[in-house]
Symmetry: C2
Subunit: 462 residues, 2 copies
């Protein structure tokens, strides 16, 4: 019987190559043009799970993109781990900022990844991290060391708000029953400071449209006399934050959990170098809510970001147009105990109320999710912590992340089990950005750590 | 000998068809992809001027798009009219808002144009209006009633700020010598209320770029902690106007001419129906600088309009990105005695000064032009007024327009002659917008009116 280290040594190249093949499929869930590629990706995931030793694997239809479900049931009396991940990826644009095409993966060395990193859309988020679980499964079945039952639920709509996962879970509650849910779709602080995510921010994502005149106008003839939707939208967006970068939507902060001084000083102990942070981003200064540190602004405080904005003439050269419409995509990251549906309503009501009479405003909610905080005194967390100690030689730091996996609160509510967020990516991996990548070291370290989690979780569950 | 009315009766269909052929050429000066089409259009204009009876016609190279120059010199002692126009057009986008393709002209009846209007990019601005002069010339030479010398200067860069016309005029001063400059590149109030433009606003057009982090970031991990260029740009743009819609750039109003109460009450006599104006644009209310009427806001007051804005994810669906960059195209319409170069400098300095330390800002001036006001006690204006009386049966109203023809002040400065702005378009012709059109009635009325101007101008110059 091989240890996981032996097995990794023997299969390193194949593990990399298999991931690269998966990364070549442009499974962009947001764009209907890639619907066929979504199916191709789902089938590829299905095959990999069969190869990894699952007994039953199924590409399950949903009203949107399919979910890949798989399981290996050893014994009904043993505990069951449910692995969640996603095979869809973010749109890759702006394409011109990629050093190599997003769906032609290449391995390149970087300062942070001296062993090389795989550059491709989805390398880290989430194909690479999801595939660690497939390969860990392969190791355990091939070497007959799988200590418990395993289920996989790999969806294709995470990047579009898990539009139909709610439906899928409710339809398949019994089939998905489990004792713990394991997800690798977050990051860790660094190689030297491994961490486990214990909190996620919630999300409310909306799209707004401001309409002025019924057609684009000549800005010379009408400028100054007719409301310009771009000027108005800028003013409306600007008014959503005050001079201290507090969000001005009435009621927005009502349910925000206030951390105790003790909790805040504990947070402040996490390794963080502000100068290095600014240098990496090439910014002269950070920017955010008054009274909070950068780490706090990015994790325990809610935000309001414009994710996209457009209107008027955006081509080469000059066009003197007073546009009929202006658009923005705006997202708010939420923290406990904000309710995303309530926040979406508050936003809509407020945004409509601040529009001058000269324009019409439409607010379209996209999707959202609740914030999530997981306790660290559970068997699942303790098993994960011991697994990291085994492979990193250090106790991982529990850390609240600024990101969102909107679906986690649903998991807890519907499936009644705790979620363990074992993420192996780094902040610098440029997920959702051009040149997304995932360190080869991180990928292999993930595969190495996961079987230890199964072992400890099964032992501790007895 | 035919009267102009007879000649129009016989040649109506041909005059329409020839314009339609010219409108089929996509001569978009702003976009380098259409360079070849620009040459095709220049050659077509050349041919039309030769056919109209000019003795000498030349497509003159410039460092940019060429200028078509033509002349017919009858007698050096007779006065000379210089006709200025342009064969380039605005970019047609957004294409999906056109009811028919912008370069496939169609004639359709509208409420305002019961005889039909030609729908095409450039129909009114300025191919249609420029071509009226070509056809009026044809009538005068064919019927031997041309009373004076004529020169044509038809450029290809008006929609990109007449980038090289300055150079061309300085290089060809003698050749361009004239007694009056005639331009049809403006509008009139209505069929029932013909008007001659006596003032134009100036222009300063700039493009701004706000850069935050050196790459697009995940808005969950960085949102709230790093300046978002789209939020910042919105705030910066919003701060450029105050609660009364005054522009806040220091020094911006210093040189703005204040009209006397008498002048303002005279302006207020121009026919204008606010309810109809709002209805046509489908807006609930107008919007503009406090203390000024809609007509004033659109003509005697300076403005600041965002003509285009973009950044982040603007595709289908949602992407939670904190973009690295945000962009805007901003234009200011200027009034006497604002200096566009000075205003551009004031803008740049102010805009850079209001940027927070967390972002970098770049301001790129595009182009500009001085505001212009023409006196009405000149022979040129009087001749034009008499020509309108002849064909409209009414004395035209002198009117200051909100638009800009940046080059007119240069004409006056370099060529030492007055400019007459005989425009036959209507406000509703949607120039610079989707579904630009030019009334068949207006086109023919222009051709009918122009020869009368030549006649009266020559007579009054004796």
């Amino acid at each position: 019987m091989d240890t996981i280290k032996d097995y990794l040594g023997k299969n390193r190249e194949r593990f990399l190559d298999e991931l690269i093949q998966l990364l070549k499929i442009p499974s962009i869930s947001a764009d209907p043009a890639f619907k066929k590629d979504m199916l191709t990706a789902a089938e590829a995931v299905k095959k990999s799970l069969l190869d990894a030793g699952c007994d039953l694997v199924e590409v399950c239809e949903t009203p949107g993109h399919p979910v890949v479900f798989a399981e290996k049931i050893k014994d009904k009396d043993l505990p069951t781990v449910l692995v969640y991940g996603h095979y869809d990826v973010q749109p890759p644009d702006p394409l011109d900022l990629w050093d190599s095409p997003p769906f032609e993966p290449v391995i390149k060395k970087t300062k942070i990844h001296p062993e090389g990193a795989i550059f491709a859309r989805g390398a880290c988020d989430d194909k690479g991290q999801m595939f660690m679980h497939v390969k860990a499964m392969e190791y355990m079945t091939q070497n007959d060391v799988l200590p418990c039952n395993v289920k996989f639920m790999i969806e294709g709509e995470e990047e579009v708000g898990s539009a139909h996962l709610d439906w899928f879970i409710k339809e398949n509650k019994d089939r998905l029953s489990n004792d713990v849910i394991l997800i690798s779709d977050t990051g860790m602080i660094s190689r030297e400071a491994p961490s486990i995510t214990t909190g996620l921010r919630g999300l409310s994502y909306v799209e707004v449209e401001v309409t002025g005149p019924n057609r684009d106008l000549h800005s010379g003839l009408y400028g100054g006399a007719v409301a310009n939707p771009l000027n108005i939208l800028s003013q409306m967006i600007a008014s959503l934050t005050d001079e201290n970068n507090h969000i001005t939507i009435p009621g927005f902060y009502d349910k925000v959990e206030q951390l105790s001084d003790e909790e805040r000083s504990k947070m402040a102990e996490a390794p963080f170098n502000l100068e290095e942070y600014k240098k990496k981003l090439d910014i002269e200064d950070v920017y955010g809510e008054k009274g909070y540190s950068t780490l706090e602004r990015g994790s325990i405080r809610p935000t309001l970001d414009v994710n996209g904005m457009w209107g008027g003439y955006i081509g080469e050269g000059a066009k003197t147009v007073l546009p009929s419409k202006a658009h923005a995509k705006i997202s708010m990251r939420l923290v406990p105990d904000q309710d995303w549906k309530e926040i979406t309503e508050l936003f809509k009501k407020h945004f409509e109320s601040i529009a001058p009479k000269s324009v019409k405003v439409e607010v379209k909610p996209h999707h959202g999710g609740f914030p999530y905080v997981t306790p660290i005194n559970t068997i699942g967390y303790q098993a994960a912590s011991k697994a990291y100690e085994q492979t990193f030689g250090k106790t991982p730091i529990p850390q609240r992340s600024g990101g969102s996996i909107p679906i986690v609160t649903l998991f807890e509510k519907e499936l009644k089990s705790k979620i363990i967020l074992m993420g192996f990516g780094l902040d610098t991996d440029a997920i959702h950005s051009p040149n997304e990548h995932f360190g080869v070291w991180n990928y292999l370290k993930g595969i190495e750590t996961i079987p230890w989690f199964y072992k400890y979780f099964t032992e501790m569950s007895k």
